[in-house]
Amino acid sequence: MEFLNAIVALSNYVLIPGIAYGSQLALGALGVTLVYGILRFSNFAHGDTMAFGAMVTILFTWWFQSMGLSLGPLPTALIALPLGILGTMGLLLLTDRFVYRFYRAQKAKPVILVIVSLGVMFIMNGIVRFIIGADDINFLDGERFIISARDFKTMTGLDEGLAFRTTQLITIVTAMIIVAALFWFLNKTRSGKSMRAYSDNEDLALLSGINPERVVMITWLIVAVLATVAGVLYGLDKSFKPFTYFQLLLPIFASAIVGGLGNPVGAIAGGFVIAFSEVTITYAWKKVLGYLLPESLEPSGLVQLLSTDYKFAVSFVILLIVLLVKPTGLFKGQAV
């Protein structure tokens, strides 16, 4: 019983939140890694692209809610999500047309593109704050829990409850669908193959007649899907606040680099590495250890390695270790 309780507590506070957060980070890191692989710069505007996508989705969610449209137990935001994606696609194509294309034609150094992406970040951040404000917004509706802690306790008779939130399930399922579709696209379709070819060796790809502008356009479209989905899932799971999305940049970049910049599999692995490190290091282990250890050894403190305020520090330290030990990341990325 004690052992079962420990497992339940562990899943409740570490495993499930870790998987959900990891999926969100993985989606974000995939976007960063694709931009890096094809356009060859670190896109600092990615966090704010996520915020923009989430914002458009929220606006449509409100509109649908006002019309009385809903998905029953599922959040209304899911119907609004495709519209949010469309909005983000439009925004990204516009920024590419009016901002990035110029520097691409000039063959500007990557660091110039990074600075340009800073400017884009400012503008996107400004637009988001201008339209929806800088406050916390909660746009989750429908059923909150699939299993609530109390139901779980009565069902199993354990002391520990296991709460499984709808948003967590949606996050995991959506992330799996999106990732599967992305890999199918990259590996099976002609456009996907030309993207990979372009990413591996630009000159060879150009020689074989791949149209670079088309590859770039498809990349932005995919990035729009990934960013919007990641932004909406994060917003549903926690809440929407423009500044948090900016702060997500650090764990997202850390995930992409830990996995190997430019490598999609690596981005997913990196997302989970960062998410689980963050959750395990900032979780207070007292409860789990209390169940597992004999009474005499029971810890008196919270056994929390770091307070949750330092979760950025966790991704940062992992990032530093990877940069020191293996700068190309766990899976071989392009960057050295």
Binding site: F41, P110, G119, N125, G126, A313, F316, L323
Partner: protein, 434 residues
């Protein structure tokens, strides 16, 4: 028009703008813009050292500025009575332990042969060291934070003259820059950007949460000043008399005088740093840095140590930002970790450097003043613009209210636009590098 005349005109234009503010709004706000413009220029000089001279992309300026602010508190504030005896020793021992743990881990990595044994030893050292560190730190921290939390609850500072904090702030920032530079320099340029972004967030997180050090979000107020207090001036008959001769009442006169003294102090620091930067730019060292920036491979082939030079200039530039941070906290005479925003303290400085002209020290100074002026004035202009746009709308319509409320967010939009437009149409900035 020759270059010299053009640059002089640009500086005169900014001076004119600020004079206009002094005339149209108040002398006080004009002096404040000058003081903050001086601080911004110093930060921009530091970033220009890194970006303009060496092509290093640092997006952690906020962190270095905040470390400077921390220095102002640690040096200038009087020590908390009983604080050091309660937990200060324990904290120091714990910090030394933490340092020793890391040193031991580094030593083990260097001395032992590669293999699983080394990995295990390093991990055991780090994990064990961490627990010892926490075991030593936590009780001392609790004891310090117990001391009169409403007023103290932290260790306090050394109580030394606050001017000493300015170089110390530079040293703090230099230390953090060394740590980052050691790991991230020599890799792709993007990595330095991400690493600096991270360290800035962490420095702010530490300052917000380590109450024993900085009082966290409770803020440290009343950091001592290097200039007299307004209230003392108002009680000083000779000052009141002088103010009256200028036609000012004592309250107005004293606030202006204090600001003016700060402007003098900051101006002196800026002049010294500007002189040093100019000398550095025209020295063999500066030429070497620019050669490295323009062609790393060629410079390396000529026997220049690229990574070492990069580390050097990265540390120097960050130290300049740290000095400016200490100066800013001194002028505010309070440390408020909650107000450090990356948009304000990192990206705004970048806009200053790019707009002013990267690689040119005078450009950085001009950019510092001009962009700070815009930053302050965009909000009223935005509000005015929104009032004009919504002029025809019905009173009380929700769209009108929303637009007017959102005027505050115009700042970000404007700064982003300015950055993109300058990068696109005049990438060398207002005063280009020679």
């Amino acid at each position: 028009m020759s270059e010299g005349i053009r640059n002089t005109l640009l500086f005169l234009l900014v001076a004119g703008l600020i004079t206009y503010v002094g005339y149209a709004q108040s002398l006080n706000s004009a002096l404040l813009i000058i003081a903050m413009g001086l601080l911004s220029s110093i930060m921009a000089l530091g970033v220009n050292l890194q970006w303009g001279f060496a092509g290093l992309f640092n997006v952690g300026i906020m962190g270095f500025v905040a470390l400077g602010g921390l220095a102002a508190v640690l040096v200038g504030m009087p020590p908390t009575p009983g604080g050091f005896s309660a937990g200060g020793v324990g904290v120091l021992v714990a910090l030394l332990m933490g340092g020793a743990t890391i040193a031991a881990a580094v030593y083990a990595t260097k001395k032992m042969r590669k293999g699983w044994l080394r990995t295990v030893v390093v991990i055991v050292l780090l994990v064990g060291g961490f627990f010892v560190f926490r075991a030593l730190l936590d009780p001392s921290v609790a004891r310090i934070e117990e001391i009169n939390p409403a007023e103290y609850g932290y260790l306090g500072g050394l109580g030394w003259p606050v001017l000493l904090a300015w170089p110390v702030g530079g040293l703090f920032a230099a230390g953090a820059a060394w740590l980052i530079g050691k790991t991230a320099l020599g890799l792709r340029s993007d990595y330095l950007a991400i690493a600096t972004l991270g360290i800035a967030e962490i420095i702010i997180a530490v300052m917000k949460n380590e109450d024993w050090l900085t009082r966290g979000v409770k803020n440290v107020i009343g950091v001592p000043r290097p200039v007299p207090y307004e209230i003392d001036l108002q009680n000083d008959p000779s000052f009141v008399e002088r103010a009256a001769q200028l036609g000012m009442d004592p309250v107005e006169g004293s606030t202006l005088w204090v600001k003016f003294l700060y402007v003098l102090l900051f101006g002196a620091v800026l002049l010294i740093l500007l002189w040093m930067s100019q000398r550095a730019l025209h020295s063999p060292w500066g030429r070497m840095l620019r050669a490295i920036r323009d062609n790393e491979v060629a410079a390396e082939a000529m026997g220049k140590d690229v990574t070492a030079r990069h580390l050097q200039v990265f540390i120097l530039g960050s130290a300049v930002c740290g000095i400016a941070g200490a100066m800013m906290t001194t002028m505010d005479s309070q440390l408020t970790p909650g107000t450090y925003q990356p948009l304000r303290f990192t990206f705004l400085i970048w806009v200053m450097v790019i707009v002013g002209g990267s690689g040119n020290n005078f450009g950085a100074v001009l950019g510092g003043f001009l962009i700070w002026f815009l930053w302050v004035q965009v909000e009223p202009i935005g509000l005015w613009l929104m009032n004009v746009i919504t002029y025809g709308m019905a009173e009380g319509s929700p769209l009108k209210a929303h637009l007017i409320d959102s005027a505050a967010h115009m700042r970000l939009l404007t700064m982003g636009l300015v950055l993109l437009i300058v990068l696109r149409f005049s990438p060398r900035g207002l005063i280009p590098e020679k």
